[in-house]
């Protein structure tokens, strides 16, 4: 069982990495880019359990450790 947690800065919180990547893409001539956000993707390899239990557990991991909920949002995707 695999769980994918995507973590990104909340709306309104300036993303220095996103800004820098956007600037670099512009200077390389990719002018169709309107905005760039850079976040973390954490891929967890877990012992097989039922989906709900896995989701609950991964949510708890995200709340306590994986994300800093003061400035970050996250979403979870479970992959069979």
């Amino acid at each position: 069982m695999k769980a994918i947690v995507n973590i990104y800065l909340k709306e309104g919180v300036l993303d220095p990495q996103g800004k820098a990547v956007h600037h670099a893409l512009d200077s390389l001539g990719f002018d169709s880019v309107k905005d760039v956000r850079v976040g973390k993707q954490i891929v967890l390899d877990l012992d097989a359990k039922n989906k709900e239990e896995i989701e609950k557990e991964v949510k708890q991991m995200s709340e306590t450790l994986l994300a800093n909920t003061v400035i970050e949002d996250y979403d979870i995707e479970i992959v069979e």
């Binding site: 300036l14 990495q17 450790l65 003061v70 400035i71």
Partner: protein, 226 residues
């Protein structure tokens, strides 16, 4: 100047604990390095210092893993009943992650590690930390960090201003604001509402002797001893 018992925390990856010991010893205090797996800090502790470094390699987020170390439970209890805690650089990051200080520290806006001496303006000095400094005074203190870009939402920021919780701001030699890492309103140091937990990104323990470039750190650390 009374001599304090200073407990200095040591996490895997901390690397400024012995600089901090050296600085407080020069001020005549007793120091004690506390391994992060200790369940409690010494009962006679007068001040806890969370020193600089790369706790857990700064992996995932600076301080994100250190906040779960056994010793932090007793530090949080100590702070909640009025004990004084000072977080320097990585220590400041750990205290925000542990919820003892408001806000969060993001990657510097130029994405680079920054290490140099930096001028700081004292914004509020009526607290145990900066009471030996004068408001408006400019100090010259080393900074060395990759994630010093302080963020706090506007609402919390205005509360902090009302409670005199904003202590230090980055400035130039004349005291005018200076952008260093993208921090909200160039904030370099803050404290909590009860003014017993302090955090700053610059390193006062690196500014204790003129042969190293500045002595301004002495006045910053002496405040706790009065």
């Amino acid at each position: 100047m009374k001599s304090l018992n200073v407990s200095i925390l040591q996490f895997p990856g901390t690397n400024c604990e012995y600089d901090t010991v050296y600085a407080f010893k020069r001020l005549g205090h007793n120091t004690n390095v506390i391994w992060h797996k200790e369940e409690s800090i010494p009962a006679d502790t007068d001040l806890v210092v969370v020193p600089g470094g790369f706790s857990y390699g700064d992996y995932l987020r600076c301080g994100s893993i250190a906040k779960f170390s056994p010793v932090m439970k007793s530090v949080i209890a100590y702070a909640n009943d009025g004990g004084r805690v000072l977080g320097i650089c990585n220590g400041f990051q750990i205290l925000t992650e542990a919820g003892l200080l408001p806000g969060a520290l993001k990657r510097n806006d130029n994405l680079h590690f920054i290490s140099r001496h930096q001028h700081l303006k004292v914004v509020n000095s009526n607290n145990d930390f900066l009471k030996k400094c004068k408001e408006g005074e400019v100090l010259y203190i080393p900074i060395a960090h990759h994630d010093g870009n302080y963020f706090v939402d506007d609402e919390t920021l205005s509360d902090m201003y009302d409670n005199a919780q904003v202590l230090l701001k980055y400035c130039d030699s004349e005291g005018n604001p200076m952008v260093v890492n993208g921090s909200v309103e160039q904030i370099a140091g803050v404290c909590n509402k009860d003014k017993n937990v302090f955090g700053l990104m610059p390193h006062p323990e690196r500014a204790m002797e003129s042969i190293l470039g500045s002595k301004d750190g002495i006045r910053m650390l002496e405040g706790f001893g009065i």
